[in-house]
Symmetry: D2
Subunit: 281 residues, 4 copies
């Protein structure tokens, strides 16, 4: 638990690794994992270390590190793994992605993660929420209306989660909601984006006769299904599969991709730069 990581990016030049690693060494920390690369003139790194007693919390670290940010015109993000992170979940009628995440949290697959609430425009998930003792909020939605978002934002404000995960939540979020929510939103889309944007990807995939179906987990931005992609995967389908069978098989990919994307986000292995992600391994 006594571990921490930082992500950092800045315009590339010589000496950045030396400067940061000296800073950590001067604080008697031992780097246990470091990844760095440069891309189009930008330097990206993620560094994980042990023994963080020098700083009481992330804010103190950030204060100490500010001079490095200034020197290189860079951005830093730091996380202390001893701190519990929370991820509120949204879901609609289909529960496979939600059940996968709740099972993983329960079985300890994610370290130090809690689910503070589940919000849904269906009552399908209520029983599951109760089983896990997670507060469940039913916020029904109406076509062409965003009136329900006010209540949702109130709930979110109450919990201040670190992240929100859309575990097959089938209502579009307004730009206002996205701007006000105050934390990153991670969605699972049921196709291999950018193919088959929108609400009926399996029908479109069937129509086009593709041989693999996929799923895409991405950060949500106001433009529908256009946010930075975190993780994708595919599964092979065979001739003769009905759309229903494609959906069933697709559900297995969706939940796997969503679970992996959340793991990456929870471990702070994802950095967003110009609507693309840098994903560290």
């Amino acid at each position: 638990m006594n571990k921490a990581c930082l992500k950092f990016y800045c315009p590339d030049r010589a000496g950045i690794v030396a400067r940061i690693s000296e800073f950590l060494f001067a604080n008697k920390l031992n780097i246990i994992n470091l990844e760095q690369h440069s891309e189009n003139g930008i330097f990206f790194t993620r560094i994980k270390w042990e023994d963080i007693e020098n700083w009481k919390n992330e804010a103190e670290f950030q204060k100490d590190f500010a001079s490095i940010c200034d020197e290189f015109q860079g951005q830093v993000f730091v996380h202390f793994f001893a701190r519990v992170q929370t991820c509120g979940l949204f879901v609609s009628r289909e529960l496979h992605a939600l059940a996968e995440i709740l099972t993983k949290v329960e079985l300890g697959d994610y370290e130090n993660i809690q689910i503070p609430f589940i919000i849904s425009n269906s009552r399908n998930a209520e029983k599951l929420a109760n089983y896990y003792n997670i507060p469940f909020y039913y916020t029904p939605t109406k076509k062409d209306s965003f009136a329900h978002e006010e209540k949702q934002l109130e709930i979110i404000a109450k919990y201040s989660p670190d992240f929100i995960g859309l575990a097959r939540y089938m209502k579009i979020l307004s730009a206002d909601f996205i701007n006000q929510v105050g934390c990153p939103i991670i969605n699972i889309h049921h196709s291999f984006l950018p193919s088959f944007v929108g609400a009926r990807p399996y029908e479109m995939a069937y129509e086009r006769g593709v041989k693999l179906i996929g799923a895409t987990s991405h950060f949500v931005i106001p433009e529908l299904d256009q946010g930075p992609i975190i993780e994708q995967d595919v599964a092979r389908i065979r001739s003769g599969y009905s759309i229903l069978k494609m959906k069933k098989q697709g559900a297995d990919i969706e939940k796997k991709v969503f679970a992996r994307a959340l793991a990456k986000v929870f471990e702070h292995k994802v950095l967003v730069y110009e609507n693309r992600t840098v994903v560290f391994e």
Copy 2:
């Protein structure tokens, strides 16, 4: 070598398998492989058998089988594997897909397949063609002109190939060419269609930040990159990959997918129905 297969489709109803298998049994043939399924009211099957001495050639078989087609309002295609099939190849500057196919033909990965000619708008492939003793035709192309197609159609007419494979041929074919060519054309597209239609898919994939790149082999129809898909596959890319590195990795997928698609076509495991393929295993 003494084997044959038929593909058949018709409106679905009871008794079709019984009728066809009786016909084959009455001719003393032994079915060694049969796949059948129904989809949206259409019956599809592929049947492979041994011992075809009853008919001198495919045309004779087709004549005998005509009554079954009439009875079920169906379409049949038959192939005797003892007959050599030919596949003319088109290529531009990049040779990886071409080299893969030529190597596979040479090493006997495809049964009874010959490459009668290579046509190219670049001289890059000439040395390779000479090594394999395959006639090479250089047909230079000009922007916004289809004048070169006349010469190409003459060459094709001379050889009457069973198939044409576009092994990364980077010039669009005119609708006239496609209609006159007289055999199926199989293309390898350097993306996971329908994502990234057109000429610069890796650049588009990089821009969008996808986590898997792919390749798609499809039959060519006049609408660009819209033909029935035969085979697709993907490969994972990592953060920090340049477009060049994506292209190199993509080339490996392209050649693999193209080689597999041709294998399916050469073995008559692909049937086209309403711009989608039925692919038998």
Copy 3:
């Protein structure tokens, strides 16, 4: 629901498909899916059809079909999909595979499947069993003793399940148990068999430095980890992964492979012949 399938194998010869399909057609049934192939002189087929009103139950069908079995010296298995099938589950401390199956049953991913009981040598699964209202039996085990099997066989006898699934049950079954249990047992082994037989596959995989880890679902026979393989899959690991991280990633493969293997078994797409499976698609 009004569907059925048969699996059949016999020494290969001409006319078998014709004979069976005539039989079905004579009973006014419509074949919706058929797969057949011959391998080493043995004919294997699976046929699925609609409309089964001719027979009250599977036993009646089998009686009618007996003459075909006699004629070809073959074995037939038939299943009417309207009949509910039951699969008892065994588990030890680790719950990921169990949770996956229970979720899939709950969400309707398997058709007409019920879980009649959960047996465990740990109390870990009890809460989950209660949530799903599945009778839970705690049968503690002792090292080098098979005394607990008597109680387990009593429980099984009470429910007469169609199948038993070992969802990461970490106690070896005695040959007596396997012989007396009266139904197929499907296990999930946490390695890519035949690599790493036994109890510590991830440790062995780490030691050997393999680049992919896997999971194998197989029917249980008295010889440990030697039964007919139903399904396998792998996942890539990276340098620097600890054994713990390999186990976490492996758990995702295990549950996926187990879920797929059970789906194949429940749909009667698996046929065992000479300690190998024929798996229909």
Copy 4:
């Protein structure tokens, strides 16, 4: 071309990254890629940088770096990418792996790599060698004799290659040969090791009824098929595949895995420690 990389390992402690990156920065070099992790108390890193004018060659760099090795009791390996590397190839009758590598070298998939010779105990590869203007040496082998190795060692001594690749060379190398050869030997084994060690893996895979077949590329050590694994991959097979069909499909995996393993080796992304590899991405 003006790039270089180093691989380094030593007992882990704080300050190593700082020390090395300061050294590089003091030499005015810009790190463009860095990967580091610790495993069981050992620190491993690979660092790639631009602008290497400070040193005339790798030996000079190594001399300058010696103090760091001493300080941390570490081992360093350095490569300047401007230097051409050579890889001699061995092959027997089957040419798919050889053809793949030669094509990749020809098409520029590997940077700055040359194939100085091909040695074979069959004449099958001679035509291919001639096409690429690569000296071909025919060294016939006899059962239970290693007499041919003397001649092979002479040829190798003449060229002093950086690496030797066994592109499906089906004769076991003696321990003497391996000890005297003077460079790493990379083999492609036609199974997913440690499954199916030895000469008939596809037959064994068929017999065992596995659902995936694989290939493994590894460094050669005197113990047969026991060397450090560099890369592995698998492909799905279907019921009804003959051993011949498995071999054909396996060949595609073999050549792909071998090509990838060589790429990793040529780019110095592989480090051997205690009979396991650390593979950097």
